[in-house]
């Protein structure tokens, strides 16, 4: 059902560029983890290692900005922004929930990358929900 939907040219560009950047993300993620494991950096070098895997994420955001500019189909544009909004809502809510728990006396911490996965999960669920809810056939 989801694969049968016709993709616009702008969306094809986004998917193609996004896939390349995501490969870059995994390479920088694994590279940074290996380097930290080997050389045990401290201070600025550690911050640099932590910031390295973020660059592909910022590039994905830039690509989404390009997509919003290139996309001529109003519905697709709205869909992307609404999914982004749901992702942000999920990440903010999770982060706030854990923060308040700590503020109120909880001693634990959420596992690392929990908010990031919640962001991705909320985006995916929102996308599937909107696609299922949109019963109009794709325009030619």
């Amino acid at each position: 059902m989801l694969c049968g939907v016709r993709m616009t040219l702008a969306k094809k560009h986004l998917m193609k560029r996004g896939a390349v950047v995501m490969v870059g993300y995994f390479v920088s993620f694994i590279g940074a983890a290996l380097l930290v494991d080997r050389i045990h950096p401290e201070g600025a070098a550690l911050w640099l290692m932590a910031a390295l895997p973020v660059l592909p994420i910022l590039v994905v955001m830039y690509l989404m900005g390009l997509y919003l500019r290139e996309e001529t189909d109003e519905y697709h544009r709205d869909l992307v922004v609404r999914c982004l909004l749901w992702g942000a809502a999920g990440a903010v809510a999770t982060s706030m929930f854990a923060g308040f728990l700590r503020l109120f006396g909880w001693k634990g911490q959420l596992p690392p990358f929990c908010e990031f996965f919640v962001f991705a999960l909320f985006m995916m669920v929102a996308k599937v929900t909107y696609k299922v809810a949109n019963r109009a056939p794709a325009a030619e």
Binding site: M61, A88, S95, M96, F100, F104, W106, Q109, P112
Partner: protein, 138 residues
């Protein structure tokens, strides 16, 4: 500069956001009071930690509805771009913090940081875009 020529949808949106933020302040104060006085049990602790996040979810949901209601293409474009930048700033900060937690056992971010960063990212982007817009309002 920011208030001139607001559309009806934007006025409604701003009014609802103010209401939600007022609700947030009330809920936050109530949560703290209840936890301090009666809520040290596990269930109540989780309950009172979830409650303050609800008005914030409401704000983001209202933002989505505003995008649906807004007829002015330019205003929508400004909000779309600002959401994108806000989400970028939010994710970048969360991921850097997560890596520092994994690599160096750093502490997690304080409670309001994620939401504040998202809002600051949005506000700065909206400000920059409006400053760049040299066309006068009708």
């Amino acid at each position: 500069m920011f208030c001139k020529g607001s559309s009806v949808a934007k006025k409604r949106y701003e009014r609802d956001i103010l209401r939600l933020m007022a609700a947030y302040a009330v809920v936050l104060i109530c949560s703290e009071w209840f936890v301090k006085h009666d809520g040290h049990e596990h269930f109540y602790l989780y309950f009172w930690s979830v409650i303050p996040a609800l008005p914030i979810l409401g704000v983001l949901a209202r933002m989505g509805r505003y995008l649906q209601e807004e007829k002015d293409e330019y205003q929508r474009w400004v909000v779309m771009q600002s959401i994108l930048v806000g989400a970028g700033v939010l994710l970048a900060t969360l991921v850097v913090n997560d890596f520092l937690r994994v690599f160096a056992n750093a502490a997690a971010l304080p409670p309001f940081v994620s939401y504040i960063l998202f809002c600051v990212g949005m506000l700065v982007t909206q400000g920059v875009q409006r400053l760049r817009n040299r066309v006068r309002d009708e």
